[in-house]
């Protein structure tokens, strides 16, 4: 090694080593831009509907004309000391629900110093829902407060989700249970729409599976039978006989 190079090496090496002794100022928080994203319910895991929910007015009392479903959201990035605007809008592609007729969106904010909140979507019980079901596809939009949208992330069901969108399927349509004539008829008698709607409103239940993981056992169905029979006695005493769409009085065995 030539002497000149050896000299330079001897001089520069300590300088480089001393440079490592400089104290680095670590920032207190990430300077990443903020974002907001949906928290999907894990109850949908395995059913392919993490990013959607089904709702029916059938199980609500007839006096209920609107209901609010709550969608949980969370932020990425740090909290701030003021409320921040969240923008949620319907996506025209795939949405069949009509704003003002079937649903209403609200003004949404992320409260100050919060990591999460719930966004309420008001579902309206329009008569048209008795004949059909509608889809409301929602998407989070970037705002000045939350300029970043979440990228695809893999979820528990092994699929990728953007976590910016949510789908609500809702209806007020009666669907006769497929096991009515084979099983439920024992407890509730012959089917009619009026009877089934009365049952659903009274029990808050419109599905009575007798097989599968959520199958109802005989005593539970018998309990339901007894509850609707007693409710019908009260109804008939207050309003006169409940008549179904066929002109027959509703009765439970």
């Amino acid at each position: 090694m030539p002497p000149i190079i050896r000299l330079m090496f001897i001089i520069l090496a300590p300088a480089c080593l001393l440079g490592a002794c400089k104290k680095e100022n670590i920032p207190e928080g990430s300077d990443a831009k903020s974002g907001v994203y949906f928290i999907y319910a894990t109850t949908g895991l395995g059913f392919g509907n993490l990013d959607s929910l089904n709702y029916t007015f059938v199980e609500k009392n007839s006096s209920v004309q609107m209901d609010t479903v709550w969608l949980a959201v969370r932020i990425s990035g740090g909290t701030v000391d003021h409320d921040r605007i969240i923008k949620l809008s319907a996506v025209s592609a795939g949405t069949t629900a009509v704003e003002g007729v079937h649903y209403k969106l609200l003004d949404y904010t992320m409260p100050k110093n919060s990591f999460g909140t719930n966004l309420g979507v008001v579902l309206l019980r329009d008569p048209s829902l008795q004949d059909t079901s509608v889809v409301l596809k929602l998407e989070l939009q970037p705002t000045d407060d939350f300029p970043v949208l979440m990228k695809d992330t893999i979820m528990g069901d092994g699929k990728f989700y953007s976590r910016n969108s949510y789908k609500i399927n809702f209806t007020d349509r009666l669907i006769k249970p497929s096991n009515w004539d084979s099983y439920l008829i024992t407890f509730f008698g012959a089917y009619s729409n009026v009877k089934f709607r009365f049952m659903a409103e009274t029990l808050g239940v419109s599905s009575f599976p007798d097989t599968g993981p959520n199958a109802l056992k005989y005593p539970q169905l018998q309990y339901y039978q007894n509850v609707v029979r007693n409710a019908l006695v009260e109804y008939n005493a207050a309003h006169g006989p409940l008549i179904d769409e066929n002109g027959n009085s509703v009765v439970f065995p």
Binding site: K217, Y218, P219, Q222, Y223, Q225, N226, V227, N230, V233
Partner: protein, 491 residues
Amino acid sequence: MRQLLNNIIRSLAVMWILTGCYKDKGNYAYHTINDINAITSADTFRVTRLDTLTITPVIKGLDTARVRYEWRVMPVEDPADPLSIGKIVVLSTQHTLHEQITLKASANYYRLDLVMIDTVTGVSYFRQLALQVTTAFQTGWMLLEQVGGNTDISFITPENKVFHNVYSAANPDKPLPASSWKLISINTYGLLGILNQVYFDTEGYTLDNTTLQVTAPYSKLFFGPPATVQPQNVSKPSIFSYGPFTFSAGKIYGMNSIYTSTLFGAAYTQPDDQGYTAAPYVAGGLSYGAIFFDQAHHRFMYDGGGTSTALKVFPPNNTMAYDLNKVDKKMLTMKAGMGWDLWPDNWYAVFKNEGDDSCFLYTVNANGNLTTTPVAAGMQAILNSPDVQRSPDYLFSSTVKQMYYAADNKLYVYDMAANQSRVVYQFPAGEMITALQMQNNTITAATYDGSASGGTVYDLPISSTGDISGNSYTRKNTGFEKIITLTFKVG
């Protein structure tokens, strides 16, 4: 030098490879298999907690001397990991198990394994047994006492051991309200097993069968709580009846134990637009239905049997002993009479005129089709029976037509055929009978003389004539407070 090193490496490699050709002569220490078997006097053992359990198994095998023993029990709650399924505990390492059992008492069985380990081969052999740990409170008389401003439960075992205030000891944070008035223990003949309950004015407690700890409020034993929670009774009238039934604020609720339910359903639907307020009693027999009394409208009702939950009124019938739809009296009790207690032949109902003290005995036949069977089997005014309307309870013989009742310090037997009563036992003056029950042809009566610790419990065996055998009690336990009610806990 390098050449020498290469030669050495090559030589060692060849030697190492050649060792693979060595023939294994199999010169190992083989041991004869030593199958071990254990014979015990039973497969299932039951022991009272804190008693000593002794099991002496007979061990069979080629060489039992080389066996090491472990008596393992599981699952045992682990306080350090309460959410775990439980741990395995070794009770003993001796051939004979002879240990005091401190395991928690439970209605469930522990698995008890006798593990026999061959110390030579290391092979383990298992003899699987079941162990139930009970408490002294498994079977015996439960007494509901007034204690200070509250109430409490005491216990008398079949061995005549007395345990005072067992409820408060088991439930120090849940004192029984002063309004507690009824204590019940029944076999539901279903998944629920033995049901023990204590009632107070607007609620009640279900008690664990071995520890007497509160397991749940009364209202939690329903799919949906009753509209008005005011527990009155729970009863399983026969093994054929759908039930058990419970009564809350005059409404009837059934538990479909035939279909393995452990919860009561909704209130039975009224038979017509008049509604109903049920007396808290039920009769049942070979028919699947059950018979109730609508106190509000003075009529008997029945359910359709099987799994029906709608009440019906009986069809008009003028050929029976009385009109089932018109009994204008107050029902004081309805209990099984003659016949096997699993499906009694006759039920007796005691009624009292609402305007005076006259009492009447109605016989109810609950066997057969309730729409065609002569359910109204008999009726007579109860004559020559002093103070019959004041009895704290009414007891019926299962073999003869006799009824026992009490008033003040006297115990009476009412002879139905003669239609008159006589005193069969008399306690000292001032010692009033406060409660009475019958079990195995013996009347157990509680008395109270008004003083502190002035409560006493007597056993009075019944002779074939209906009198008290030898006109004497066979057991007397003193030192209780005023006993409100008592019930035999069926185990």
